[in-house]
């Protein structure tokens, strides 16, 4: 199976937000408010039901990177376009009780809007805080990986609109190699904290939309060791069954000395 992937490179992003605009236009995603956040030029703040690409603006204390030097407190300005990770083991997909969330033939995670009934369980099951319920609509939405475009042989709208190739779309294996090469190249050029963000060692088992970032993932609100919540099922069900057994014994004891007749 061909696995489609995004490689989003923070070191190439110029913060133009063309990906946000292209995504909204192509997918006809409703606007979700115009509020000035005060967090650098980021007024989008987070991914959500109506934000499927989100450009982050990090202002970090002076470290190697694109510098804002002519200021009182020089800082490195880093941009990154965040997106649904299309996890290999996706929490939302596992949690969905209707089968609305499916794995497509390009291995992406897709929410079928004609099936979703808006139960909200995917929202609390995503370890990356991506998918959300659109209140005015009632259903859950997230990045579709431009499944419709991919079916027509086109690349996703965000990748197409990216002017710097910060967003690359292609085969997962190929992009893994490209990412490794890019990190090596950056390190050779002195970006010592360049790294790939792709939690392959965790129960998530890797993501199909992975990133080249500078610095710690936490600075991008990317969890350092995410887990797919199904790994918690065993201990939770065990507790439920053991507790239930104990309680049955308790109720038996309570009624053992009781006699009132029945059928």
């Amino acid at each position: 199976m061909a696995v489609s992937a995004f490689l989003t490179d923070a070191t190439l992003c110029i913060g133009c937000k063309a990906c946000e605009v292209a995504c909204k236009e192509w997918n006809e995603v409703p606007e979700d408010g115009l509020v000035l956040s005060g967090f650098s030029y980021d007024n989008t703040k987070a991914l959500g039901a109506s934000t499927w690409r989100h450009v982050m603006f990090l202002e970090q204390p002076e470290v190697a990177g694109p510098q804002m030097a002519d200021t009182e407190d020089p800082f490195r300005w880093v941009f990154l376009s965040d997106v649904c990770k299309h996890c290999a083991n996706a929490g939302c997909l596992e949690a969905c009780p209707t089968g609305a969330i499916v794995r497509t033939e390009v291995a992406s995670v897709f929410v079928q809007p004609d099936v979703c009934n808006g139960c909200g369980y995917c929202v609390v099951s995503c370890p990356f805080g991506v998918i959300d319920k659109r209140p005015e609509d009632g259903r859950a939405f997230k990045c579709t990986f431009c499944y419709d475009r991919q079916k027509a042989g086109l690349i996703p709208a965000c990748a197409k609109a990216c002017p710097t190739q910060s967003i690359r779309f292609g085969d997962l294996e190929e992009l893994h190699e490209r990412g490794e090469r890019r990190v090596q190249e950056l390190r050779d050029r002195g970006y010592d904290d360049a790294r790939i963000y792709d939690p392959r060692e965790t129960s998530v088992g890797g993501i199909h939309a992975f990133f080249v970032i500078l610095g710690e993932p936490e600075a991008y609100n990317l969890p350092p060791a995410p887990d797919v919540p199904t790994v918690y099922l065993k201990s939770a069900w065990t507790s439920a069954l053991v507790s239930a057994a104990v309680i049955v014994v308790l109720i038996c004891i309570a009624f053992a000395f009781q006699s009132g007749g029945t059928f």
Partner: protein
């Protein structure tokens, strides 16, 4: 427009977005600097939530509460049947289960973003989704308890028939089994999520919800006038276990449990824990011999039990909004 020209137009539009973005944006170091971000926490992205808070509305915690009582009532009824606990009590237990089973789906459906699509819950049977299991458990419980009630009422009205008695036992036994699952799965549902304060309490939650459930079922019986030794014993047991849980929560102060101790959720959970646990226990010790006292204790326990379900949902919301606690937890493991 034909599909081909439409596609051409949209592709040209994406091209246009790309070009204009490339022209108007310049490399970072040629832009004017912004003020230094004093409000930025270095360990997260401006302290913004890294997870989405639960979207569940007021119906869901109420459902947890009612489902727990309904399920454990049916279970209590069956065990009472086994030990000849009296037909009035068994009948009341089964009816409590049935009323609960009727109310629960209404609450769940009205919480859905698309209530008309509630039947989509039964499109698939997914062991790996606690929500899917819950939907099936509720359907199974409703059917079993309905069967039990119908058989019981027919037998009461003199339709004595060995088949009917067999069906009654079948209905009661399966309602007891699915009732236990109904009262317990909600703890699994909440525990097996990405919300740190829930997942880190995933073994505690089912135990707590089940205890709350059987204590609630006993409390309803007491309020209905079944002031028998059995409900007294169950009342003592439930508030005793809840006291132990409250002590555990107070002693074990983990950073991830911060929403259980601070803010609105922390206050609500403390009150709920005190009501269900020590308050109910002490009231029962001192006033448990008095009928009015037992009614009061039962009411206190029920209020604590209901509030506790809300408090846990509120704690989940607070937990989702704290990226620091999430990252700290993941660094430890």
């Amino acid at each position: 427009m034909t599909p081909a020209t439409k596609l051409k137009a949209t592709e040209e539009r994406l091209e246009e977005i790309r070009k204009s973005a490339g022209e108007t944006s310049r490399p970072a170091d040629s832009l004017q600097p912004l003020a230094s971000p004093e409000n930025a926490k270095p360990e997260s992205y401006y302290g913004l939530p890294a997870l989405k808070p639960p979207t569940w509305t007021w119906e869901v915690p109420l459902y947890f509460f009612l489902g727990g009582i309904a399920g454990m009532s049916a279970c209590t009824g069956f065990i009472a049947q086994l030990f000849h606990g009296g037909s009035a009590l068994i009948r009341f237990c089964l009816w409590t289960g049935l009323v609960g089973a009727a109310l629960c789906p209404l609450l769940l459906i009205s919480d859905l973003g698309r209530p008309m699509r509630f039947l989509n819950m039964l499109r698939v049977f997914k062991l790996r989704s606690a929500m899917s299991m819950g939907a099936w458990i509720l359907v199974a419980f409703s059917n079993c308890v309905f069967l039990a009630v119908v058989c019981f009422e027919l037998l009461l009205r003199g339709f004595t028939n060995p088949m009917l008695i067999g069906l009654l036992w079948l209905g009661e036994a399966s309602a007891a089994l699915t009732g236990l699952l109904l009262a317990g799965y909600t703890g699994v549902l909440v525990g097996a999520t990405a919300i740190p304060v829930w997942s880190e309490n995933r073994t505690l939650l089912p135990a707590h919800f089940l205890t709350s459930g059987f204590g609630g079922a006993a409390a309803i019986l007491e309020l209905a006038g079944f002031l028998i030794p059995a409900t007294q014993i169950l009342g003592f047991a439930a508030s005793g276990i809840e006291t132990l849980i409250e002590i555990l929560l107070q002693v074990r102060k983990r950073p991830v449990d911060s929403p259980l101790h601070h803010g609105r959720s922390g206050r609500a959970l403390l009150i709920a824990g005190l009501l269900e646990g020590p308050a109910a226990l002490l009231l029962r010790v001192f006033f448990g011999s008095d009928p009015t006292g037992r009614h009061v204790v039962a009411a206190v326990f029920l209020i604590g039990s209901l509030l506790s379900r809300y408090a846990w949902i509120w704690a989940g919301r607070a937990s989702a909004r704290d990226p620091g606690a999430l990252f700290q937890l993941q660094h430890k493991s």
